[in-house]
């Protein structure tokens, strides 16, 4: 961000979308969709020791309508899949999804009738965090990766739409997949 602090005048020049992306990336309200053992590690991340709040993703919102970031933590089975999809659809744009742990990313060691082999079969996922369960450092790294993605996203001249006018309709649909 081209921040300049001229000595006498008190105004800052920047591109609007960069400011918006910057504010979005440091105010990620997360919705924890915790289903299995990875939840313990999730609690560790947001406990005082690792303190995920340092990265601006401070408050868990237990209503998807108030959340920006969907944390899918743990095994998702086919019986749970419609619920997860519904939670995702209830979230307001812009929204991001993190698959937390091996089970959410790929089904983990489950290969059977009941487990969804990776939540990206149901939702678009922005960041996959590997590990069974992932270390808190890995989770923090995942959050930082997501923040980079958000900052680098070209959200168009208005900054609000999230639509890049230079994209064709096909590219847009592809990126929304």
């Amino acid at each position: 961000m081209g921040l300049k602090f001229p000595s006498a005048e008190s105004f800052v020049t920047s591109r609007l979308d960069e400011v918006i992306n910057w504010s979005r990336k440091f105010s990620l309200f997360q919705y924890p969709f915790v289903t299995a053992c990875c939840g313990m590690e999730f609690m560790a991340v947001y406990g005082p020791h690792y303190d995920g709040a340092r990265f601006g993703s401070e408050i868990p919102r237990f209503s998807p309508r108030q959340a920006d970031l969907l944390f899918v933590v743990g095994t998702v089975n086919h019986k749970m899949a419609p619920i997860l999809k519904r939670v995702y659809e209830q979230m307001a744009e812009p929204k991001w999804v993190i698959a937390f742990g091996a089970c959410a990313s790929s089904g983990g060691f489950y290969q059977n009738y009941s487990t969804v082999p990776g939540i990206d079969r149901i939702l678009p996922v922005d960041v996959f965090i590997a590990g069974c369960p992932p270390r808190p450092e890995a989770v923090l790294d995942g959050i930082i990766q997501l923040q980079k993605q958000i900052q680098d996203k070209d959200s168009g001249p208005s900054g609000f739409s999230g639509i890049n006018p230079r994209q064709t309709k096909e590219e847009l649909l592809l990126s929304r997949e």
Partner: protein, 185 residues
């Protein structure tokens, strides 16, 4: 012969099939017809007093005949002994009497067993889906249920570009041919 086995063999000679004992725990195999009489005896007789149903499940011994075997575990808290009861079942007649009227704890175990193995528990008051969902076809813990066969409730997005090995899972809504669906009776 261990005491409980001897008791059952003497009182229920028509039901008795087989037995063995290991480390002081006895196992008795019995026939299906008239099994409730024996279970009532196990629960109420002062020499048995099995007041606790610990576990109940089935085993699929494909391709053996009889294919299935019901396994019941009982414990007596006043007398501190245990007993395992097995009931072999043919595939063509995989049904047993529900023991839910005797041990309430058997309720959910029987529902699970019905879902996973397709064994019909006659007289069960509430044989409904517990772990499976509506529309699930087949019985997933049977040996002939394909482990890659999934029955998703939401449409699955294609993610083949992520996998070098291509799509290994099958999403089939039809039941596999050898597994007939059983509706609650």
């Amino acid at each position: 012969m261990p005491p409980l086995t001897a008791l059952i063999k003497k009182d229920f000679p028509k039901l008795y099939l087989d037995s063995h004992a290991q480390h002081g725990d006895e196992t008795v195999s019995i026939k299906r017809a008239g099994m409730l009489e024996l279970f009532l005896f196990l629960k109420d007789d002062p020499r048995c007093k099995f007041d606790m149903m610990i576990d109940l499940t089935a085993v699929d011994y494909l391709p053996r005949s009889p294919r299935f075997e019901m396994v019941y575990h009982f414990k007596s808290s006043p007398l501190h002994h245990r007993l395992r009861v097995k009931i072999p079942l043919e595939e063509s007649a995989c049904q047993v009497d529900s023991i839910e009227p005797l041990w309430v704890a058997a309720d959910w175990y029987e529902r699970e067993c019905w879902e996973m193995y397709g064994i019909d528990f006659q007289g069960h008051p509430n044989l409904k889906f517990l772990l499976r969902y509506e529309g699930f076809q087949g019985h997933p813990l049977r040996k002939d249920y394909d482990k890659l066969l999934m029955q998703p409730l939401v449409p699955m997005r294609p993610v083949a570009e992520r996998h070098d090995y291509g799509e290994v899972f099958q999403y089939v809504q039809e039941p596999p041919p050898s597994v007939p669906e059983q509706e609650p009776s």
